[in-house]
């Protein structure tokens, strides 16, 4: 579904991604692990088109590096940005409506669906997103991304700032979404233990390079990698 090869990206003179390759298959949950500054968020932004990038990113036959962010969304790639990126001055409802920005039909149907998946959001439908708790905002960010009916969901550090129990719940939700709809998920995470539990495959990113890859089970078992890159 997603084939990334030789992906590069820089902030000014500083090259953050040194040319990375990875793939996400249909219906797969793939996690990219790495420490702070490894280039995880940059990878997400390079795919979603919110920063200049080089190399190729093939999504279902489309070359994403040539497209603008809104065109990429229209192809079915949605993102849960780092720090959730909910629109704090908009109500929960309006946040979801912005999520459906690229669509015009059956929006109400989807709203109902996500309100029933996340009843907390339905309760707070008319509240400003800024007044929600961290966990609720993360749910909102995911629901909002789902409103575009993505084929691929990019999740950037959803566990950031959340209590472990909430993170577990969140990951359970992501797994459910993946299993129900067959939507592929690309997750970047610092929290290797939790992420590897839900992922099918994983890559380890270090200073802009992929230094290891394998199935989640393999990486979980590999103590050298665990010690060297994942700080476990």
């Amino acid at each position: 579904m997603l084939t990334v090869s030789g992906l590069t990206a820089s902030y000014g003179p500083v090259q953050v991604l040194q040319g990375i390759d990875f793939t996400v298959g249909d219906g797969e949950i793939v996690v990219i692990l790495g420490a702070n500054g490894a280039g995880k968020t940059t990878t997400m932004r390079a795919i979603s088109g919110t920063m200049p990038r080089g190399g190729t990113v093939d999504f279902a036959g489309h070359e994403l590096t040539k497209l603008s962010p809104d065109a990429i969304v229209r192809l079915g790639v949605a993102q849960v940005p780092q720090g959730r990126g909910t629109f704090s001055d908009l109500t929960v409802h309006d946040n979801l409506m912005v999520g459906a920005f690229t669509r015009s039909s059956k929006v109400t149907e989807d709203l109902d669906r996500w309100y029933s998946v996340f009843p907390r959001l339905a309760e707070r439908r008319e509240q400003k997103a800024g007044s929600l708790s961290g966990g609720e905002q993360q749910m909102l960010a995911i629901a909002r991304a789902m409103m575009s009916r993505p084929k691929l969901l990019l999740c950037d550090e959803p566990s950031l700032g959340l209590a472990p129990i909430i993170t577990q719940d969140l990951f359970a939700r992501i797994t459910e979404l993946n299993q129900e709809s067959g939507m592929a998920v690309l997750l970047v995470e610092q929290n290797a233990n939790l992420a590897l539990k839900i992922a099918h495959r994983a890559y380890v990113l270090d200073t802009g390079r992929i230094v290891a890859s394998g199935t989640a089970a393999e990486l979980q078992a590999d103590e050298t990698i665990q010690a060297a890159y994942l700080g476990v």
Partner: protein, 373 residues
């Protein structure tokens, strides 16, 4: 029940409250239009024109979060478009208004292009350059055949057409007042319905988190350039009427210079950036504070604080201080303060949570955003 009383948004009581508020404001303007003398009406007309330009700027700054200190250029462009067409080519003033709107919209879209790449301070700097370049252009020899150069264009007039209920020169003040009121109301309706629309949500989304908006599929370029254009068009139509009312245009008219940009921004912030009533309240405060500062009579200067010294830029100081106070004491402007005061009496609660099944049966409610009343 003890105070404050709770009122649910969208309930009958809430609607009644909104209607009463709207009715009082409407009554004020209608009464003023019918009974005030020419001086009062003239000032109120200026206020409405500034408010109209501020409505546009509010869409850009308050709702979409793009700073512009260049709106004097659009106000001036509208004024000059009408002045040139009337003064040099003998058009009927009314027909120049649509030209102003279209021209300012187009120029606004083009000027919005830098906003695609620049943010915050940098965008503000570019917009300042726009304001200063505009006055330079007005002064430019090579364009003097069109703009009148430093002398400008004088002797404009727009007498009420015969189909109006106004009686020639004697009703000039009323004619401009009602015209400005209608234009202001139209612009406000456009702005508020826009804010409540799908496009309006994407404007707030761009303000709140540009990157997130982009990855939701919001086309940043389209939103920014369109809002710039619309905002410029509103400033332009206000400028057109302003020129006709003033009977002249020239490069030193304050609202065509950087001062005008600053004052419009002051109105937006004073009133409450992002709120529907903000521009009106901000323009009201601006015009009447300015008037108060100019009525020096016996003593010199506001409250006699500056008695005898007559330092320059007193108006600027007054507005500067007001602005600092507002931003730190009442970040949501005068409208925010009024809301706070109202909250002591009536608390507006959000709509009740809609059950999925109920929501399913109907179209989505008009969303209630930060910018709505």
């Amino acid at each position: 029940m003890a105070w404050p009383k709770d009122v649910r948004r969208g309930s009958a009581w809430h609607r009644v409250g909104q209607l009463v508020l709207f009715g009082l404001v409407a009554l004020f303007f209608i009464r003023a239009g019918l009974t005030w003398n020419r001086s009062g009406i003239g000032q109120l007309t200026d206020m409405l024109l500034f408010a109209t330009a501020a409505v546009g700027l509010n869409l850009l700054v308050g709702v979409t979060g793009q700073i512009s200190l260049g709106h004097s250029a659009f106000f001036g462009l509208g004024a000059y478009t009408s002045a040139v067409l009337v003064g040099q080519y003998g058009w009927t003033p009314g027909w120049t208004f649509p030209v102003s709107i279209v021209l300012c919209f187009a120029v606004g879209m083009v000027v919005g292009l830098p906003a695609l790449r620049l943010k915050g301070v940098y965008l503000a700097l570019v917009s300042i350059a726009l304001a200063t370049t505009f006055t330079q252009l007005l002064n430019w020899d090579r364009l003097a055949w069109l703009t009148g150069g430093p002398i400008g264009i004088k002797g404009l007039s727009y007498l009420p057409p015969s189909w109006t209920p106004f009686d020639g020169r004697a009703d000039l003040g009323k004619w401009f007042f009602w015209m400005s009121l209608v234009v202001f109301v139209i612009c406000t309706l456009i702005a508020s319905s826009m804010i409540r629309s799908r496009f309006g949500r994407s404007m707030v989304a761009v303000r709140d988190n540009e990157t997130a908006a982009a990855v939701m599929g919001v086309n940043l370029a389209a939103v920014k350039t369109l809002v710039f254009g619309l905002s410029a068009a509103m400033a332009g139509i206000a400028g057109s009427i302003f020129a006709m009312k003033l009977t002249l245009v020239e490069p030193v008219v304050q609202f065509f210079t950087l001062f005008g940009s600053i004052f419009l921004l002051v109105m937006v912030v004073l009133g409450g950036a992002g709120s529907t009533w903000g521009p009106l309240v901000g323009a009201f405060i601006f015009v009447y504070v300015r008037d108060w500062a100019s009525g020096v009579g016996e003593g010199n200067g506001v409250l006699g604080l500056f008695e005898g010294t007559r330092i320059g830029g007193l108006g600027g100081i007054v507005f500067g201080v007001l602005l600092i106070v507002i931003v730190f004491v009442a970040p949501f402007g005068a409208v925010g303060l009024l809301r706070k005061a109202r909250a002591k009496v009536v608390r507006v609660l959000p709509r009740p949570p809609a059950l999925p099944t109920v929501a399913n049966a109907q179209e989505p409610q008009p969303p209630t955003t930060v910018v709505s009343g």
